[in-house]
């Protein structure tokens, strides 16, 4: 993982407040747990029917019946619970999920999220993403600031099919921390070494700057 991504992950870990129930999307979001203290009080939720996700295990030590929603072998911790898929999403939809950290293809300045389909190229189905994005109390995105071709992912409007409308509260990228406000994107922090000009060029919509010095992460 690049240094900028590592710092993004460490910074995003501060989203998690004591006592929260949290769902971490596949990929970068799952890394944030490495930045939490061992006795930090939090409950991690996995869509396939588990609260209290323990450390991932190598195949030779794995329980064949115990995976997370991304298919990784995981373990339990004291107080873990198993439940069926209806209960699992009851938790998501009924307001019990305090926070979800998700990946994104595009985020619009009103908080629209597109992260499940690229028509004609990638349409495997949304799984649980729509419910996570639509119903978690706080929806936070972790993504590279631009796609592989260098095009901005933070846009005035999404061009791809939406996952959820106006639900993203904040975006962590390798370049910046950006809030979604009623007035659009607002820069919160800049990664070390990124200039104001660079972040404006890499962002596909107006970006409000904070008063005074821009904090760094």
């Amino acid at each position: 993982m690049s240094d900028a991504r590592s710092r993004m992950v460490a910074r995003a870990a501060r989203e998690i407040a004591p006592g929260m129930v949290v769902n971490l999307g596949i990929g970068l979001p799952t890394k944030v747990v490495n930045h939490l203290p061992a006795d930090f009080p939090v409950c991690l939720h996995s869509e396939n029917g588990l609260t209290g996700i323990g450390p991932t295990l190598p195949p030779e030590r794995a329980d064949r019946n115990l995976i997370d929603a991304g298919g990784a072998y995981v373990s339990t911790i004291p107080g873990s619970a198993f439940f069926d898929s209806a209960v699992s999403f009851a938790l998501v939809r009924s307001g019990r999920l305090d926070l979800t950290l998700l990946g994104a293809f595009e985020v619009a300045q009103n908080g629209d999220l597109a992260n499940w389909k690229i028509p004609g190229k990638f349409s495997p189905g949304a799984g649980g993403a729509i419910e996570l994005a639509q119903k978690a109390r706080r929806v936070v995105v972790m993504t590279t600031h631009c796609d592989r071709k260098g095009n901005p992912k933070l846009l005035e409007t999404c061009s791809l099919p939406l996952t959820a409308k106006a639900r993203v509260a904040r975006i962590y990228t390798d370049m910046a921390v950006v809030d979604v406000t009623a007035q659009g994107f607002a820069l919160v922090e800049l990664a070390e070494g990124i200039s104001e000009t660079e972040i404006r060029e890499a962002t596909g919509a107006p970006l409000a700057l904070p008063q005074g010095d821009i904090p760094r992460f």
Partner: protein, 230 residues
């Protein structure tokens, strides 16, 4: 990471229930009724409550204390059969009563806990329970819209709990408890046994702790818990 501790004292947790709250109350007859939480709610005297419960318990037990104390504005229930006091309070206009078919009450609460808007069902469609309800056509057949039901508070009774709030129930004391334990903004569980984390097997957590806000250890199992008929 470690799962949070949610244990709390009875008096303190019941004090967080405001006047006017909608309160879901577990139990079917005696088993699963949170008698101690109800006693404390009667003692503290919150008013203007809307209670949701399968039945009205018997005279002198459970929610009858709240009804007798004039604390209940409205009761949503499946039947009052064993409590003449509750029937009298209804007939004399001291308490509003909304009747709901038993399994539909369970589903409305479950829908609330599942973050759904409503269920569509044909139950009661040819009866007076259908009166005043929104009707939707599905494939040419009329279906009743039964709205999801959530509480500001749920009071449930568990046989065993760990301090994160994973709950296990005993026998037919399960009934409405796991449904209500998903369907309120503040879910309060009283428990006969309070165990450390790991005390409830992950397969045996009939209510996952993530739905539960507070766990209260019962100091004693009072006489009410053992009474089926008097």
């Amino acid at each position: 990471m470690k799962l949070p501790d949610k244990s709390i004292a009875m008096e303190e947790v019941v004090a967080q229930i405001p006047d006017g709250a909608t309160v879901l109350v577990g139990g079917f007859g005696v088993p699963g009724t949170p008698f101690a939480l109800l006693r404390e709610l009667a003692r503290q005297g919150q008013r203007d409550l809307v209670l949701v419960k399968n039945d009205a318990n018997e005279a002198g037990m459970g929610i009858d204390h709240l009804i007798a104390g004039g604390q209940v504005r409205k009761l949503i229930v499946t039947h009052l059969g064993l409590n003449a006091n509750a029937i009298a309070a209804m007939n004399e206009g001291r308490m509003e009563v909304e009747f709901c078919a038993q399994g539909i009450l369970a589903e409305r609460i479950r829908a609330g806990g599942a973050g759904l808007g409503a269920i569509l069902t044909d139950i009661g469609i040819d009866t007076e329970l259908a009166q005043g309800k929104q009707v939707v056509e599905m494939n040419g057949r009329p279906m009743l819209v039964e709205p999801a039901l959530r509480g500001d508070v749920a009071l449930v009774h568990a046989a065993r709990a760990d301090c994160f709030g994973n709950l296990a129930y005993a026998a037919t004391a399960r009934n409405f408890n796991p449904l209500m334990a998903m369907a309120a903004t503040r879910v309060i569980a009283e428990t006969e046994e309070l165990l450390p984390l790991g005390g409830i097997d992950p397969d045996a957590a009939e209510s996952p702790g993530a739905f539960i806000d507070h766990v209260v250890k019962l100091d004693e199992i009072s006489e009410e818990y053992g009474i089926v008929r008097r």
